[in-house]
Amino acid sequence: MKKSITILLMVMATIVFSSSAFAGVEFLRGNQELMDPAKEPDQKKQQVVQGGFERSYKIQPPMIPHKIDKEEINMKVNTCMKCHSEKTYEEKKAPKAGDSHYVDRDGKVLETVSSRRYFCNQCHAPQVEANPLVENTFIGAK
């Protein structure tokens, strides 16, 4: 009997403390119920910027100044190379993927893009016209 009363008290104490601890916390989810489907984020169009984005520092992977929603990068193909490869960049008037993209981990220079650089969007991101979620004062290095 005594044991079950202690357990009951402990449980009640846990409930009281945990709920008061949560009271001041604001969730990113907002007041949405846990089981409700998440709100869909705004679908924004990818930007097209002629001449490209200015880089914020010297060896930054440049941001992608065009849409890439129709490109495919997977095990079978990489369609970025239609324009950015050593074979095609002149005809397509696109910048060639930097020389660093043709070097393997041992420093050997390759004929085609190194597999380390195969998944372009691991480093290069397209941009959308979106307000920053958090205010910031970042200024790129010049």
């Binding site: 065009h66 079978k76 239609k82």
Partner: protein, 194 residues
């Protein structure tokens, strides 16, 4: 001519016309029935592979609500070309029976060959089926992104001036409705386009 013979000739004619309408109509109806998306994807080979990929693309859903279904791109609209394509399809039936591509693995292994067949046909017809909807003379290049407008510009003028095209839609727009095959090299292909 006697009355009886006259009546006989007239009767044969009427029966002939009616039969003609029924047979011809029936033939065309049957052919149109094979020209529907639901017919195409009644084969799991199409439903499980290429159809699932199509569903992710702009030809399936888009802001204007116009959809291109399988036959819009893969079956010619003109009657003679359509019949020729339908006769070629007997080869597809044959391989359906053989089960040549009846698993995703088999399909993947053959994808490059199959895609090359479609690309070759489209190149030969100057992308006829694309042009059922997309015509250079109705394109407003100013409304396109700069990269697209630059690429289209010379070919736009070829079309407007009535010169023979140096490039056709499929030269640049491969893999827009289905995923590209392994073994296809976009860079090598782009240089072949000339």
């Amino acid at each position: 001519m006697t009355k009886v013979v006259k009546r006989g000739v007239f009767g044969t004619l009427v029966i002939g016309i009616i039969l003609g309408i029924i047979l011809w109509g029936g033939f065309n109806t049957a052919m149109e029935w094979t020209n529907t998306e639901s017919f195409c994807i009644s084969c799991h080979e199409m439903e499980e592979n290429v159809y699932q990929e199509l569903k992710e693309t702009i030809h399936f859903t888009n802001r204007t609500g116009v959809r291109a279904t399988c036959p819009d791109c893969h079956v010619p609209k003109e009657w003679v070309h359509k019949i020729v394509r339908k006769i070629q399809a007997s080869n597809e039936l044959y391989h359906k029976v053989l089960g040549t591509i009846d698993t995703p693995e088999k399909f993947e292994a053959k994808r490059l060959e199959l895609a090359n067949n479609v690309w070759r046909a489209m190149k030969k017809t100057d992308s006829r089926e694309c042009r059922n909807c997309h015509k250079f003379v109705s394109m407003d290049l100013d409304k396109q992104d700069s990269r697209s407008a630059d690429a289209h510009d010379p070919h736009y003028w070829e079309a407007v001036d009535g010169n023979s095209p140096t490039k056709t839609c499929i030269d640049c727009h491969k893999g827009i409705a289905h995923s590209l095959p392994a073994g296809y090299d976009p860079a090598a292909d782009a240089t072949n386009e000339g």
